[in-house]
C-alpha cells in the first residue's frame, strides 16, 4: 500500500469517526453551555431592570 493510499484512509478515519466523536463531545457540553447562556441572559435582564 502506497503512502497516498495510507494518507487517504487516514483522512477518511479522521473525517468520519473523528468528526462524529467531536459531535458526541459537543452534545456532552451542550447542556452546560446553554445553561450558561440562560444565566447570562437572566442576569442581564435583572441588571437592565435595576438600571431602569
Amino acid at each position: 500500500m502506497s503512502m497516498w493510499e495510507i494518507g487517504t484512509w487516514l483522512a477518511c478515519i479522521v473525517l468520519g469517526p473523528g468528526a462524529l466523536a467531536i459531535f458526541l463531545f459537543f452534545l456532552r457540553d451542550a447542556r452546560k453551555m446553554l445553561q450558561g447562556l440562560e444565566k447570562q441572559s437572566s442576569d442581564r435582564e435583572v441588571n437592565d431592570r435595576t438600571e431602569a
Binding site: 502506497s2 477518511c12 473525517l15 468520519g16 473523528g18 468528526a19 459531535f23 459537543f26 450558561g36 441572559s41
Partner: protein, 493 residues
C-alpha cells in the same frame, strides 16, 4: 457512460436536502429565544468549549472556495494542491494556536478592530473595520451555492443565491453566533462525514489506486508540482492572513478560555488537513475518470469534484452529499455575514456616530446589518462577470491593512503610538488598492489573472496581481516605523 451522466437527484435525495434546510432554520428559531444581549449574540457570551469551537472553526473557515478550489487544482495538477496550497496554512494556524490566542485572551475584546482602537485609536479602528468588511463579504460561497442549486435542483443561479443565502441569513439573524455555531456543528459533521463516505465510492469507481497511478502522469504525484518559486512564495505569504482572520479572532474571543482555543486549533489542523486531502484525492479521481471516459473531457475543474461524487454515489447518499456541500457553504456564509454586520454596526457606526447606543439598539442594528451585508454580496455575485476579479481584491485587502499593527500590538513591548497603527494600516490599504488597480488596468490577462510586465534595463519583471503582498507588507512595516519615528520626534519637541 458520458451520455448517461446522471446528476439528477431522486425524491429521497430531495427529501434529505429539504430536511437539512428546515433543520437549520429550526435550530436558529430555537436558539433565538435564548439570546437577548449583544455579547451573547456576537461572541456567544465567551462560553464556547473545545468541541463547539472545533466544529465552528473547521466548518466556517472551509467553504466552497476550498472544496471546489483545492479539488480544481488537484484535478489539473495533482497532489501539489495539498502540499503547496494548504500546508502553509496549517503552520500559520499552529502558530496562532500556540502564541497569538493566549495573548488575545488576556483582553476582553469582541472584534479585531477593538484591538486596533485599544492600542492605536479610532482612526485605525475604522480603517481596519473597512478592510475587514470587504474581506468578510461571503461572495464566493454564495456563488458556489448558486452553482450547486443550478446543477442539482435546476434553479437559475440567481434563484440559487437567494435560496441559500436567505436560509443562512434567517437563522443568523435570529440567533447570532450561538445559532451560527450550533448549526455549524451539524454542518461540520455533515461536510466531514459525507466526504469520508464519498472518497471510497469515487476511488472504487475509477478502479482503485492502481488504476489512478497507471493512468495519470507522474506530475500528479509530484508533491511540489511545477510551480515557479515566486508564485510559491506568494502562496506561502497568503497564509499570513490566518494571523488576522476575523472569524478565527471572533471564535478566540468567544472561547471559554485560552486552553479551549489552543486545543480546538490543534485538533482543527488535523481535520483541515484530512478535509484538504479528501478533496485533493477526489479531484485526482475525477482526472482518472476523465481518462476512462467516465466523465466528459471538457469538464470544468471547479465542477470536477461534484460531478465525480454525484456519478459515483448511490441514491440517498447523493442527497446527504449535497447537504454536506451546502453545509460547507452555509456555515461560511452565516459566520461572515455576522462579522461584516458587526464591522458596520459595532466597529464603525456605534463608535463614530452613536457612542451611547444601548445594548438592545446595538443588537437590533447588528441584525439589520446582516440583511444589509447580504445586498452588496448578491449585487456583486449577480453583476460581476468575472468573480475572481472581485475575490482576489477582497482576499488580499485584509492582510496588509491589519497584520503589522495587530502583531505589533500583541507582541511588541512598550506603549503603542496612534500614528504607528494609523500609518501602517493606511499605507497597507493604499498600496493594495494602487497595486490591484494598476495591474488590472495596465496588465495583460493570463490564466484567470492579470500580469503587468515591467521592463527594466535588460531585465523583465512579471508582476502578477496576486503579488500585492510583496509590496504592501513591507510598506505597511515602513508606515509603522515612520509613525513610530514621527511620534518620538513630536514627543521630543
Amino acid at each position: 457512460m458520458i451520455e448517461n451522466l446522471n446528476l439528477q437527484l431522486d425524491l429521497l435525495d430531495y427529501t434529505i436536502v429539504i430536511l437539512y434546510l428546515g433543520g437549520m432554520i429550526t435550530v436558529g428559531l430555537w436558539i433565538a429565544r435564548k439570546v437577548r444581549d449583544f455579547t451573547s449574540f456576537f461572541v456567544a457570551g465567551h462560553l464556547m468549549t473545545t468541541p463547539l469551537l472545533i466544529s465552528t472553526l473547521v466548518s466556517t473557515y472551509y467553504g466552497l472556495d476550498v472544496t471546489f478550489g483545492v479539488s480544481e487544482v488537484s484535478f489539473e495538477e495533482g497532489v501539489m494542491a495539498w502540499f503547496v496550497y494548504s500546508r502553509p496554512y496549517y503552520l500559520a494556524i499552529l502558530v496562532t494556536g500556540l502564541f497569538v490566542a493566549r495573548r488575545l485572551k488576556a483582553f476582553a475584546f469582541l472584534s479585531l478592530p477593538d484591538i486596533a482602537e485599544h492600542f492605536y485609536g479610532k482612526g485605525t479602528r475604522v480603517t481596519m473595520a473597512l478592510a475587514n468588511f470587504l474581506y468578510n463579504l461571503p461572495i464566493l460561497s454564495i456563488i458556489g451555492m448558486g452553482v450547486l442549486f443550478k446543477i442539482t435542483l435546476g434553479l437559475s443561479e440567481i434563484q440559487g443565491y437567494l435560496l441559500g443565502a436567505s436560509i443562512a441569513v434567517v437563522y443568523t439573524l435570529l440567533g447570532g453566533l450561538w445559532a451560527d455555531a450550533i448549526t455549524d456543528t451539524f454542518q461540520f459533521v455533515l461536510m466531514c462525514v459525507t466526504l469520508a463516505i464519498a472518497i471510497p465510492f469515487a476511488i472504487q469507481m475509477v478502479g482503485g489506486f492502481e488504476w489512478i497511478f497507471a493512468q495519470l502522469d507522474a506530475k500528479y504525484f509530484a508533491s511540489m508540482g511545477e510551480v515557479a518559486p515566486g508564485y510559491l512564495f506568494a502562496l506561502a505569504l497568503s497564509a499570513f492572513s490566518v494571523f488576522v482572520e476575523p472569524a478565527l479572532y471572533q471564535r478566540i474571543f468567544a472561547a471559554k478560555d485560552e486552553r479551549s482555543v489552543r486545543r480546538a486549533l490543534l485538533i482543527g489542523i488535523l481535520l483541515w488537513a484530512a478535509y484538504d486531502w479528501g478533496v485533493t484525492i477526489l479531484g485526482i479521481a475525477a482526472a482518472a475518470a476523465v481518462k476512462q471516459n467516465l466523465l466528459p473531457a471538457d469538464i470544468e475543474g471547479r465542477q470536477a469534484l461534484i460531478h465525480m461524487v454525484l456519478v459515483s454515489l448511490p441514491i440517498g447518499l447523493k442527497g446527504f452529499f449535497i447537504a454536506g456541500i451546502l453545509s460547507a457553504a452555509m456555515s461560511t456564509v452565516d459566520s461572515y455575514l455576522l462579522l461584516s454586520s458587526g464591522n458596520m454596526t459595532y466597529d464603525i457606526y456605534r463608535p463614530l456616530f452613536r457612542p451611547d447606543m444601548s445594548d438592545a439598539a446595538l443588537l437590533r442594528w447588528t441584525r439589520i446589518g446582516i440583511v444589509a451585508s447580504l445586498i452588496p454580496c448578491l449585487a456583486i455575485a449577480v453583476y460581476f462577470q468575472r468573480i475572481t476579479d472581485a475575490w482576489v481584491f477582497m482576499s488580499t485587502v485584509l492582510t496588509p491593512t491589519t497584520l503589522v499593527p495587530i502583531m505589533a500590538a500583541i507582541f511588541l513591548r512598550g506603549t503603542r503610538k496612534r500614528l504607528e497603527g494609523l500609518l501602517s494600516s493606511l499605507v497597507g490599504l493604499a498600496t493594495v488598492l494602487l497595486y490591484y488597480g494598476l495591474v488590472t488596468l495596465l496588465g495583460q490577462e493570463q490564466k484567470d489573472s492579470y500580469v503587468l510586465t515591467v521592463y527594466w534595463s535588460l531585465h523583465t519583471l512579471e508582476l502578477w496581481r496576486e503579488y500585492s503582498l510583496f509590496f504592501a507588507l513591507p510598506l505597511s512595516v515602513a508606515g509603522f516605523m515612520l509613525g513610530s519615528a514621527l511620534s518620538a520626534s513630536a514627543r521630543r519637541k
